[in-house]
Point group: C2
Chain length 293, copies 2
């Protein structure tokens, strides 16, 4: 086809005032991308530490800085919550109560079920919440690492519930597409089941592995150890909230991992070279089927 | 001290003929480094696939190519084995039987106990074996990735046994120092215990994690998953031999990992946010104490 697809050049009506709640790596990158791409006339950053927010403003990431969520929400037609996952529901309620009719709220949290189900009810008429989760970020923290291109060619999962109005879902989808993300739409529950396996379980395993290292062996930890445990450097408060916010699915993934590890252990215990080779080969194929992006 | 230390500018007598047995990433890098640094007048590459060896010769990594180990060993004053670990003992015996008196043999294998103990006996008088293990390499394979600087600032563990003559240990140490490596001398057993924890266990865990990934979730595997499972892309034959070659220590490390993972699981099961945060914080500190090189 020679005409551009809608998905290649999505319509996204410019936001008068965009509120970014939580201006860290992800929030800062969203603020930067929204400005660079002309998606918002004004970006207000909301947080708990005014000095940090003022620094983000000095760096040009946001136009205004405030610690007063309600004050920002009153003027914001579009809000995105990038706070730790255990503070999103409460924040969205506070904002929804005062934001203009027609206001649209989304988030960037790594768990979706507990957030989207809680917010499926009780918001004022005319204000909508649609959850999202951009698969970008890293163990780095703070807006100092903000990058307007953080979401380019990254997957962003959008997680409407049954009652989400289609126009709201379409607008949140268009928001992320304009940031360069590839959209996957899923239910919050399907998201949590998948991310338990691809993100939350790996975090738990990396942390348990890092914790296993004896002090006297540190000099002998080379690139393999460092790669395998890199994500264990993530913030412990953030990750504790994520793991607890998706507890049942994480525990289920952990059981599958245990079963997998037991197969390797058994082959090793039984000195079964053929079985061990097969297991390693299957793992290698699985790893290599994941496209490096 | 103002005088240069011996360890900073090690003496290393030029080798007339260096034999590199197994010309892959590590063997190829050793061959390249030996030539670049003028450590050997001639480098003979020994392998099983003559066409591949001829290609390595055309690329200038080695001066001669042969599939006849004994023929190469007859002329070589210094030999290094970079074959899979389960072929080192047999190869060293074959070479030692015919190499010139005064010949020195080392290896680059990832396990040391089973190799060094087997070779502590039965070599002809005047020929010495001292094990080594450079902590370099990657999931990439083949001499196409050879790099003369692969060992620079990397740790190389040298593992003499009680009967190893000190001059032989000193010469193997000087060989690696000239390649830019930082030397740690340990017993083969101490090496295997440490590497079980820092390398072999992470490989097993990464493989079990990669194997846990469901096909339908691949699109949702982001950089965290990819980092954590990167080493699972290693060659399954090589790694099967390494894991079985250090079986008891790998199983002991696996038990410690299981205990660590159980602590995380329990905190999650009990919804114990404080305990989970503490565990994640300790893991983060452990990870961050490992210097990135």
């Amino acid at each position: 086809m020679s005409e551009p697809l809608e998905s290649d050049a999505p319509d996204f009506e410019t936001i008068e005032t965009l509120a970014v709640v939580g201006v860290g790596l992800v929030g800062g990158s969203i603020a930067r991308a929204a400005k660079v791409r002309g998606m918002a006339r004004s970006v207000v950053g909301v947080g708990r530490n005014l000095a940090r927010l003022e620094e983000a403003r000095r760096r040009g990431l946001i136009d205004e800085a405030t610690v007063d969520l309600a004050q920002a929400a009153r003027r914001a037609g579009f809000l995105i919550f990038c706070t730790p996952v255990d503070r999103i529901v409460e924040g969205v309620r506070t904002a929804a109560d005062v934001c203009p009719s027609g206001g649209l709220i989304t988030d960037a949290g790594s768990v979706k079920g507990c957030i989207c189900r809680a917010l499926a009810q009780g918001l004022p008429k005319g204000v909508e919440f649609v959850g999202s989760h951009p698969l970008a970020g890293s163990e780095r923290q703070g807006f100092e690492h903000a990058d307007a291109r953080l979401f380019e060619n990254r997957v962003c999962v959008v997680t409407p519930v049954e009652s989400s109005p289609r126009p709201a879902v379409t607008r949140v989808t268009a928001f992320w597409k304009r940031m360069g993300a590839k959209i996957i739409e899923m239910t919050p529950e399907a998201h949590d089941k998948a991310l338990a396996e691809t993100s939350h379980l790996p975090h738990l395993v990396a942390a348990a592995l890092a914790a296993t290292l004896s002090a006297e062996n540190k000099a002998l930890a080379a690139s393999g150890f460092r790669d395998t445990t890199r994500i264990a450097s993530g913030d412990s408060e953030l990750w504790s909230a994520i793991l607890l916010g998706n507890r049942d699915e994480v525990l289920a993934s952990l059981s599958r991992f245990d079963a997998s590890l037991t197969r390797f252990r058994r082959a090793l215990e039984q000195n079964d070279s053929a079985a061990l080779k097969e297991l390693l080969k299957a793992a290698k194929m699985s790893r290599e089927s994941v496209v490096n992006t």
